[in-house]
Symmetry: C3
Subunit: 132 residues, 3 copies
Amino acid sequence: MISFELKTGSQQALIDVTQQAQRAVGQSGVEAGVCTLYVPHTTAALTVNEVADPAVREDVLEALRRLVPADLGYHHLEGNAQAHVQAALVGGSVQLPLEAGQLCLGTWQAIFFCEFDGPRTRQVWLSVVPGA
Amino acid sequence: MISFELKTGSQQALIDVTQQAQRAVGQSGVEAGVCTLYVPHTTAALTVNEVADPAVREDVLEALRRLVPADLGYHHLEGNAQAHVQAALVGGSVQLPLEAGQLCLGTWQAIFFCEFDGPRTRQVWLSVVPGA
Amino acid sequence: MISFELKTGSQQALIDVTQQAQRAVGQSGVEAGVCTLYVPHTTAALTVNEVADPAVREDVLEALRRLVPADLGYHHLEGNAQAHVQAALVGGSVQLPLEAGQLCLGTWQAIFFCEFDGPRTRQVWLSVVPGA
């Protein structure tokens, strides 16, 4: 397992981690197969979406706040139940094909770390498995 | 990496791609392990759900349109912000166990390509990794 | 592929299956790589979230019931369309890195089987693939 760290600068944000992920894949020495990225946190997630227009990230975050409001009489009393539910909806891992040692992404895609309860220092774990 | 193409016929649809996926798995020659299917698009997704009753697909699509309306003052100005958010909720990849060269699915399950901004010509990428 | 069974005791619940998953990983003999857990059901899902405070599980379930009400004029007439949609939102598989034969989880994390249409006897399938 390989890992990298990032510092998130606001309470909620989608942060492009494609370059860190590609660097970690390079360390693995695996040329073809699948890369799994995983967040060991319960108030964060990972997703792949459009990177060209930053407005897409804003729309995703605003939609998640509309679907899961900050204050809704939650049972969890630490004030971040919203973030736990948002993490459950988006999911804590992504899988990408790997070819010639490179993560395979579509033209408009990047990998985003979803911070739902920041700012914090966060970890991303990677596992790379060889395959066809 | 193996890939297949599909043409989606409407703006939003769940399309059964189980047979194309199984054919691609056959090309890999891997007998046991895990198959990852991945969409290189930012307004489409993949999911596994019931195939027996087509009404389930309609209910999933209608629920996603209710949760993420088409017009909501989005920042992304290309008219398909809804589709980007729906893709973030459903997710762009699925993983299935593989045994005897066959994708392992439950009795009622099929793999669905989720078109959220069609009709378009789309790609699905597959990676197959050997394992237990 | 390895599998384990669980009996769910209520209509909707998040059930910690981390120990069963770890036992199954032990049977595989794989030391490092990735473990995929998969549900062969269309009204259940898998997720990773906080285990320390059981209130988080309640908040996740209540949010999913608020987002996807039980009765909403669904087309699927078996009475469990809610569960099919909830399964599509949460997703039917999780992937975790594996090191020294152990599933890698963050400090507060556990793996939860999400029962959306119980009580039932359910299966979880595991595939373990070796890697870095």
